[in-house]
C-alpha cells in the first residue's frame, strides 16, 4: 500500500477485499478458449479486410482524362526542377470531389475510394503498396518517380508509411502528395492540412515537407505540421530532433523540441514559442487533449475533425475547458463528454448542432 499513514480500518478493509477478489479467477480453460477466439478474429480480419477498394474512375469522361494526363505528365519533369504541387492539385478532376471516403490517387485513371474511418497505407521499398494489410494490384510500368495523392476527408484519418520508412499520421481534412519512390538524393512531400511525421533518419538526404507557404527541412525527427485557412496559417510543432523552417519569403528559423512555430502568410509574421506538445500531437493516437483551452478552439477542432456543422455564440467562446477526447468515439459521445467538462447545453436542429451556455 502506498500511504503509510493510512488508517488501520481502511487497511483491513482493503486487504479483505483483495483476498476475496483473488478468488475470482479466470480458469485456464477459459483463458485458452478466449485466446483462440482472438486469434481467429485476427486471421479473419487479415483476410476479409481484402480492402473494400473499388476503382472509381477507370473510364471517366475523356475530357477529364486528357486534363489529368497532362497533369501526370507534368510531374515527370526532370528532378532538378521544383515540383509544382499546386498544379497537381488544381488539375485533378474536381467532379469526383468531395467524397466522404478516403481517396488514394494512384495515377491519371486509378483513383481508389477507401472505406472505413481509418485506413493504413504502406509504400514498401520495392514499390509495392499495401492498403490495410492487402497488397494493391498496380500496373508495373506506371511505378517510378510518380506522385501519389492521399486525400483524407472530415471525420477520417489515415496512417501512411512512405517508401523511405517515414511514418505519417494524416489527420482529417488533409491532402498529402508524395512520390511512390523517392528520387535519388531527394526526399520531398507536400502537405495541406495536418500530419504528424516520424521521419526515418538519413543524414545524407534531408526530408522536406512543403506546404503552400512554408518548407520544413529535417534530418530525422518527429514533428507535427498543420496548415489552415487555405494555407495562410501554418504551424509546426517539434517533438524531437531539429528542423529548419523556411517561409515563402525565404526567412529561415531553426526549431527545437517543444517549440511551436507559427506563420501567418497574410501579415508575413512568424513566431516561435514553447508549448506543451501533447496538445498538438495527441490526435495521432486518436485523442484530442487540451488544457485550459478556449472552447472556441476546441469546437472548431471537433467540427473540423467530424465534418459536422456546429454553431456557438460569443458566450460559449468565453469558456475554457480541459480534458481528453477519444476521437474514435462518435460525435454524439464526444459532445456529450464535453458537456461534463464545460457548462454547456447541446441542441440539434436539422443537422446543425447548436451549443449554448447553460443558464
Amino acid at each position: 500500500m502506498k500511504d503509510n499513514d493510512i488508517h488501520r480500518n481502511v487497511k483491513a478493509f482493503i486487504s479483505q477485499l483483495l483476498q476475496m477478489q483473488q478468488k475470482e479467477a479466470f480458469s485456464a480453460e477459459d483463458e485458452d478458449v478466449l485466446w483462440n477466439r482472438i486469434e481467429k478474429a485476427n486471421q479473419k480480419y487479415t483476410k476479409t479486410k481484402r480492402v473494400r477498394i473499388y476503382i472509381l474512375s477507370s473510364g471517366i469522361a475523356a475530357s477529364i482524362a486528357v486534363l489529368a494526363i497532362a497533369a501526370w505528365n507534368f510531374q515527370r519533369w526532370p528532378q532538378e526542377k521544383e515540383t509544382d504541387y499546386l498544379s497537381i492539385i488544381n488539375t485533378e478532376p474536381q467532379e469526383n470531389l468531395p467524397s466522404s471516403n478516403i481517396q488514394l490517387l494512384l495515377s491519371e485513371n486509378q483513383r481508389l475510394s477507401l472505406d472505413g474511418k481509418e485506413v493504413e497505407i504502406d509504400y514498401q521499398q520495392d514499390g509495392d503498396i499495401i492498403v490495410n494489410d492487402e497488397k494493391l494490384d498496380v500496373k508495373e510500368e506506371e511505378e517510378k518517380t510518380k506522385f501519389n495523392q492521399l486525400i483524407v476527408p472530415a471525420g477520417k484519418r489515415s496512417f501512411l508509411t512512405l517508401a523511405d520508412g517515414t511514418k505519417m499520421w494524416v489527420n482529417s481534412n488533409t491532402r498529402v502528395i508524395y512520390p511512390v519512390q523517392f528520387a535519388k538524393g531527394k526526399r520531398e512531400i507536400f502537405v495541406e492540412g495536418e500530419t504528424f511525421l516520424d521521419v526515418n533518419r538519413n543524414e545524407k538526404i534531408p526530408f522536406i515537407v512543403k506546404t503552400r507557404k512554408i518548407d520544413v527541412t529535417v534530418l530525422g525527427t518527429q514533428f507535427n505540421v498543420s496548415t489552415a485557412d487555405n494555407g495562410s496559417i501554418s504551424e509546426v510543432v517539434l517533438v524531437s530532433g531539429k528542423v529548419e523552417v523556411k517561409t515563402s519569403l525565404n526567412k529561415k528559423s531553426i526549431l527545437y523540441p517543444s517549440q511551436l512555430f507559427s506563420y501567418n502568410a497574410l501579415t508575413d509574421k512568424s513566431n516561435i514559442k514553447e508549448v506543451d506538445i501533447s496538445g498538438y500531437v495527441a490526435w495521432k493516437d486518436g485523442y484530442y487533449q487540451f488544457h485550459r483551452q478556449s472552447l472556441d478552439v476546441v469546437l472548431k477542432r471537433i467540427s473540423k475533425f467530424y465534418g459536422a456543422q456546429i454553431e456557438w455564440d460569443e458566450n460559449v467562446k468565453k469558456l475554457t475547458c480541459s480534458g481528453k477526447l477519444d476521437l474514435k468515439d462518435d460525435l454524439a459521445s464526444v459532445l456529450e463528454l464535453l458537456t461534463k467538462a464545460a457548462p454547456i447545453k447541446i441542441k440539434k436542429q436539422n443537422e446543425i448542432i447548436h451549443i449554448y451556455v447553460k443558464p
Binding site: M1, K324, D326
Partner: protein, 181 residues
C-alpha cells in the same frame, strides 16, 4: 507484475513479434478479467470486450505507442470497450459518466469453514460498500488495490488532480467511520 517486462514485450509486439502478443495476453488476462467484474457480472460481456481490446491492438499494432504503463493502457481500453458494449446492450440508458456502475463487491463468495464467520464478515463488507458511491469504489480500487499513481488515476477517470485527491479523501473517511471498532 513487473511492468518493465510488460513494456519490453509490448515493444516487441509492435515490432511484429507474435509471441510477445501472446505473452501480453497471458500475463494480463487475470487482472483484466477481475477488473471487468468490477463493472459487470456478465462474464460473456467481459470476454467479448477483452477480445475486442486484443484484436484492436493487433489491428493497430504498427502505430501503437509504447505506453508509460501497459497494464493501465489495457485497463483503459477495456473500460472503454465494456462501457460501450453495456450501452449498446442498453444495460443502462443514460450514458452519463456518473452512472457507470462500479462495484468492489466480490462476485465469488468466500468459502469459510465456519458459516457464521463468513456471513458476518461478508455482511460487514457489504455494509461498508453500500455507503460508497460507484466513483468512490472505483477510485479506491485504482489507488489501493491496483496501487496506481494519481496521474494514472486522473487519466483513467478523467479527473483533475485536485478532484481525484478529494474523492480519495472522502472515500477513506467513509470507510474509516463505517468500519466496526
Amino acid at each position: 507484475m513487473p511492468e518493465e517486462e510488460n513494456k519490453d514485450k509490448w515493444a516487441q509486439f509492435i515490432a511484429g513479434d507474435k509471441e510477445a502478443y501472446g505473452w501480453i495476453y497471458r500475463t494480463n488476462i487475470q487482472d483484466l478479467y477481475r477488473y471487468g467484474l468490477r463493472f459487470t457480472a456478465n462474464t460473456e460481456l467481459i470476454k467479448d470486450s477483452v477480445q475486442e481490446v486484443f484484436t484492436a491492438i493487433y489491428r493497430n499494432r504498427k502505430r501503437l505507442p509504447v505506453p508509460d504503463n501497459v497494464s493501465v493502457y489495457l485497463f483503459v481500453s477495456l473500460k472503454n470497450k465494456l462501457i460501450r458494449m453495456m450501452q449498446r446492450e442498453s444495460f443502462y440508458k443514460d450514458d452519463d459518466l456518473e452512472s457507470v456502475p462500479f462495484s468492489l463487491e466480490p462476485t465469488v463468495e468466500e468459502q469459510y469453514i465456519e458459516q457464521e464467520t463468513q456471513s458476518l464478515r461478508q455482511k460487514q463488507l457489504k455494509e461498508i460498500l453500500s455507503l460508497l458511491s460507484p466513483r468512490q469504489q472505483e477510485i479506491i480500487y485504482y489507488r489501493y488495490i491496483k496501487e496506481l499513481s494519481l496521474d494514472e488515476i486522473c487519466s483513467i477517470m478523467s479527473l483533475n488532480y485536485q478532484s481525484a485527491q478529494n474523492l480519495i479523501q472522502r472515500s477513506l473517511k467513509k470507510i474509516r467511520e463505517a468500519f466496526p471498532h
